[in-house]
Every structure is written in C-alpha cells, then in structure tokens.
C-alpha cells in the first residue's frame, strides 16, 4: 500500500546525466524609451552538455503575465550555448514599468521531469517624451 503511493514528483530524468537548468544575463537593467514600449535583449544560456528547451516569459512585479512581444519565446538551446532574445514591453499608458523577464526550462518530451528552474531578471523601463 505504502509503496503503491510512492510516486515521483520531480520526475524520472536519467540519473546518469545532468538534468535541466539554465542561466540568463543580464539580470538587472534600466531602459529609457521615447516610444510607447521599451526593448530588452537578454541572453539565456545552457550550461549543460545536452540541448534543453527554453521558454522566455515576462511577468509584472506580482508574477502576473505581461503581454510582451518575445522573439523567440520558446526554443531549443544547444549544449553550452547562448542566444539573444528580444523582448519588447509596452508601457500600457504608464511612464515607467517594472517587469521580470524569466527564462524557464521546460521538461523534455517523454520524460517526467517536473521541477522547473526559473531565472528572472528585473528590468525598469522609463518613458521620456
């Protein structure tokens, strides 16, 4: 009975290989914009010797999703590789906006890894007229 309830909650990634993770730079930034949006270029990187799936998400200070343009917002990243991602955040009528831009590792298909590593940078956009 007890064994039947013993279930994996983080998944069954291959024990012999490193699992998933990532880093991102920069993790802080201030941007001044003369338009109704500001842009940030971040560089997620994959420290592993295997490719991983990366999602880029933008949240506000309360971790609520922000409707930003992200290019690309989801991609496979090769081993020990890094690539630029452009994020354009609208001010939505405000003169400044604080957002978190997060890179999240996504479990591989057909694996049950259920621990998600999330690296978030904090960015402040200021609008000038």
């Amino acid at each position: 009975m007890l064994r039947s309830l013993a279930i994996p909650f983080f998944g069954l990634a291959l024990a012999a290989t490193a699992a998933h993770g990532q880093s991102m730079s920069p993790m802080r930034g201030e941007v001044t914009s003369f338009t109704d949006a500001f842009a940030v270029r971040v560089f997620p990187s994959n420290p592993y010797n295997k490719k991983i799936r990366i999602d880029i998400r933008v949240y506000d200070q309360n971790f609520q999703p922000v409707d930003a343009r992200i290019a690309p917002d989801s991609f496979m990243l090769g081993a020990e590789a890094s690539r630029p991602v452009l994020v354009v955040v609208p001010f939505d009528g405000n003169n400044e906006r604080k957002v978190r831009i997060c890179t999240e590792s996504v479990p591989f298909p057909n694996e049950q890894t259920q621990i998600k590593a999330q690296i978030c940078g904090k960015f402040l956009g200021t609008r000038r007229f």
Partner: protein, 157 residues
Amino acid sequence: MKYCILTTGLAIAACSIAQPALAATGNVTFNGTVAAICTLVVTNGSGTMTVSPGLQSLSSHNAGGVAGTITATTTGNVAISIGAPTAITVPPADVTPITWAPTYSVAGAHTVAETGASSNLSTPGVDTVTVHLTGTKTGSDIFAAGNYSATVTVTCQ
C-alpha cells in the same frame, strides 16, 4: 685639423654612449564588471513522495521519500524562492482537498533552513538547494491509491 675633427667625433660618440636611451612608458587600464548572475542546475530530478502511516501526509520527508536537488551558482545579490506547485494530478479516487506545501533549504556558500519563503543570496558562491514537497489532508480525509504528481518551480531572481 684632422686631429681636431677626430677628437670631436670621438667626444660626440662618447656622449652618445654615456647618455641612456629615453624609454617611452604607458599604462594600460583594465576594467571589468560582473553582473548579477544565477545559474540553476537540477542535479536530482527523481524526487519521490511517500505516504505517512496515517495516510494523511504525502511527502518527500516521509520514510522512503527523496528530495529533489538543485545546484545554484550565483555572483550574489539575488534571491531564491519556490512557487506553489502547478500541474497537479491526483488519482480519480481522491476527491478530498489536499494542501500542498513546497519547501527548500540551502547549504554550501549560504545556509538557509528549510522554508517556503524567499531567501536572499547576497554573496557569491555555490549552493545545493534541497527541494521538498508535502501534501496534507485534514480531518478524516486520507490519500487514495494511485499516482500523484506536481510541478515545483524554483526561482532565482
């Protein structure tokens, strides 16, 4: 006349030898900035929850349970936290409420006792983050037979 010219030439040559060559010097200045960086590596993704003898706790803390582990490498001035579990699945027979509590502890360059709150890692270093998940039932509710799973998010910001 010839003697005079020769003497003058030797004097000039002697002066040239005695005078040290003027060396040009310059300084090269290097500057570097290390920004706040955090790297998370999931080193054990095979965490396991087991049920307590009273069948009201399903946890990686229970006997036979296994925690998840992450290696966090940071330049400092970052915070680590854990989010509420998502993508929770329970067996169809389980129809009573479950309270889920993800927690973590940090050991290595920093020490953080097990908590569910955010922790500042203000200095650089490498740490092992141990992640636990516990589901609890109250009253007369108990866990049902079957598979349970949840996604736990560890955030470094």
